[in-house]
């Protein structure tokens, strides 16, 4: 299990690094233009560390990811994603994950991000991708859907959430300084969250 998780994080790192320019462009429009650069720096470091080590359990990988992002990103996404992964490391097991587990993981991630960023849904942040994704998982669990359907619905909700940030006005973070002028641009944090989620889901469904 840990080996598969390691591969998943290596893949996630590649995806973020590949999208460095795209994320930075999105951030340049409404923020300080460093989201891609910052995240890529953190994930590049993570790749180096992951490759050097072997892991016994998933939670070690989540913890290493958290601490590496916290120490190397340099922007708010470091503590935000870092705390999310740290929270997940506390609940994730090495068993085959079912929908109950995934809902718990999503809730922990959201709690971690909210603890640091104090944001709610609708403030044009990464949460606008992650909260709809979590809601979708909960619905699928309550409706007793199978895991593959649940994951594909989850990804769809995340994409929709990400796109909905275009019409939102930012009230948190650097973009909030732009006020109404932040409307009309997709949020870089919501986008990086989607890219990660997509990689996790595609990797996990395989």
């Amino acid at each position: 299990m840990a080996n598969k998780t390691k591969k998943l994080f290596l893949k996630t790192a590649d995806v973020i690094i590949e999208n460095k320019e795209y994320l930075t462009e999105l951030d340049a429009a409404i923020g300080d233009g460093d989201h891609g650069i910052n995240l890529a720096r953190g994930f590049k470091k993570l790749k180096e560390k992951l490759k050097k080590q072997s892991f016994e359990s998933r939670n070690e990988i989540f913890k290493l990811t958290a601490m590496t992002l916290i120490s190397n990103v340099g922007g708010a996404s470091g503590p935000l994603y870092g705390t999310a992964f740290l929270n997940i490391s506390k609940v994730i097991s090495d068993n085959q994950l079912d929908l109950d587990d995934l809902v718990e993981i999503a809730e922990e991630a959201i709690a971690g991000i909210q603890k640091r960023g104090k944001a709610e849904a609708g403030e044009k942040t990464m949460l606008d991708t992650i909260i709809p994704a979590a809601e979708s998982l909960k619905q699928s669990r309550d409706n007793k859907l199978d895991l593959d359907t649940a994951l594909s619905d989850c990804l769809e909700s995340a994409a929709e959430g990400m796109k909905n940030t275009i019409e939102m006005q930012a009230t948190k973070g650097r973009a909030s300084y732009l006020g109404k002028r932040s409307i009309g641009h997709q949020d870089p944090g919501a986008t990086s969250a989607y890219l990660m989620l997509k990689t996790f889901i595609k990797g996990y469904s395989k």
């Binding site: 340099g74 922007g75 503590p79 640091r116 650097r174």
Partner: protein, 132 residues
């Protein structure tokens, strides 16, 4: 003596703010900075903040001045990693960086308590520019 930690996205802002504050202090106050990342790039270095908070003398308290988003967020996170007793003696000021650091340096160097320094630099009048 209350000591001061300045956290900025920019090393230059942190260094400049420290320089201004140092000029005003009346007695030995330790003014430390955590500015930028990788020796000059813009950003917040959580490890550096942690290292400063671990090494600074905190027995009379540390007043922290931070500029924007991730500086505040990283500080809050690092603070939570410290022992609870120590956390109580480290306060993030609701004050503008430069004014807070300069006035904080004066107040701290006069031997004021943590509470007194915080009260002085959190006064709204600190941002007045038209009645100097």
């Amino acid at each position: 003596m209350v000591n001061i930690l300045i956290i900025s996205h920019s090393l230059k802002i942190a260094e400049g703010t420290k320089e201004l504050a140092e000029e005003m202090k009346q007695d030995e106050v330790d003014i430390q900075i955590a500015g930028g990342i990788n020796n000059g790039e813009l950003g917040t270095d959580a490890d550096l903040i942690e290292q400063k908070l671990k090494n600074m003398d905190y027995k009379d308290g540390i007043v922290v001045l931070a500029d924007l988003g991730s500086a505040v967020m990283s500080f809050n996170m690092v603070k939570e990693w410290l022992p609870e007793e120590k956390q109580k003696l480290i306060k993030l000021a609701n004050a503008p960086l430069v004014e807070g650091a300069v006035l904080g340096a004066v107040e701290a160097s006069l031997g004021k308590s943590l509470k007194e320094v915080m009260a002085a630099i959190e006064k709204k009048s600190i941002i007045n520019k038209n009645n100097l």
